[in-house]
Symmetry: D2
Subunit: 133 residues, 4 copies
């Protein structure tokens, strides 16, 4: 299993007139969480893209538990529970202190330079193996 934590501060631009973080801004936060989860095991998403791979999102689920406010410090906890195949699933929780803000899940799949579904790069698979034995 992989687990990582990322801290971020809510930007003014991310609020809406209800006074909370706009519900559509959380996918950005999730993406920050999963890039950090990959970094924590030595995988750079930027390098992976530069070598021709992509990881588009197939499925997104978010449950909103509490509202986050401007200038709040949020902690994104990201998990990869199962060994990735051609797909990889990330689970997320975002907290402000003890308060649970959202829970979420995304499933992504690998594409090659021609944007077709493909197997993950060898380096990715080898780094992942170390965490799922």
């Amino acid at each position: 299993m992989i687990k990582s934590k990322t801290t971020l501060r809510v930007r003014y631009s991310e609020t809406d007139q209800m006074g909370f973080v706009y519900y559509g801004n959380y996918p950005q936060y999730l993406e920050i969480g999963r890039v950090d989860a990959l970094k924590s095991v030595g995988i750079s998403y930027r390098s992976m893209e530069e070598s021709g791979y992509g990881l588009p999102v197939k499925d997104l689920v978010i449950r909103y538990h509490n509202a986050a406010l401007y200038d709040d410090e949020l902690v994104i906890t990201t998990h990869v529970i199962n060994m990735p195949t051609n797909k990889i699933t990330f689970d997320y929780e975002i907290h402000r202190g003890e308060d649970l803000i959202i829970t979420a899940q995304t499933t992504l799949f690998f594409v090659d330079a021609s944007k077709r579904a493909c197997r993950p790069p060898v380096d990715f698979r080898e780094k992942m193996k170390a965490y799922f034995n």
Copy 2:
């Protein structure tokens, strides 16, 4: 049942470096779809908020089928299948011509001026009733 269609054109700002609409921009499109669905039955979300009500999102699910591109014309089809209670569920499909781009569902709930869960305004319930008998 309520059904409405909304057309929009993809903005440059909505693409990412993969060359597609960023996955996190679709919740904005969904919100445009559901506001139009409410307008189609005579309900103004803006007026509802001005009179003290809010409709935060509780659950969001998106399945990504195909990528949308800059300057694409997209059609959002929004349904309300069940009579709203204190919650309201919207189902969405976004197409570019014949191509299915995403399917999605959101569930929202009513809050009053103090941001507590509440029943929908009377006017909302009466307008809805006409569509669910």
Copy 3:
């Protein structure tokens, strides 16, 4: 001279907790205005990019006169006053009815497929000439 008008409706996601359109969302509106100004003279920005050209922004100036609100209908008036060289300057006004919301100016320059500054494509220059004699 080139002049075009574009209408758009303010999205909920574009507001911030002050209750107005976030100041940083206007550049998106300007981009919609200038793409429409080019379309009005038969130039597709999308096609231009597909054939290897780009038009990055060099300078942006915005003066904020009045706040725009959620669901407001805004009209972007876009002008090109001078014949484009390797650079092109757009002037903008955004109104809500009679109210002036912002005035703005952007200057962009042409880049080729290797992202180096270059002359505009021949087709662009010919279409422009018709408007600046």
Copy 4:
């Protein structure tokens, strides 16, 4: 004079299909820079808003020097050169290492709870005075 530095990492959502940070995302970065500049002298923008004040932007100028890329680490340097009156002007530079990405300036003005222009709060003026004698 006030001077502060803020570091941020470019998010995937902030890129566009040209492969660079979208020009319209820099105002968000500037806002992060100026909130940090205020924090550095003991002023919380969040608290100021909670006590009824606002600081809308009147003027924005950005000059784009170089493109920023996904995952770049950017440093925003924010200056307040002149003692604020009812208005406050911030100057900014954003760098990636030695590369200058943009220079910018924003002028903001104080509004009270009814959104009318007003003098800054007493606490703000006192904290500022210490830096402009």
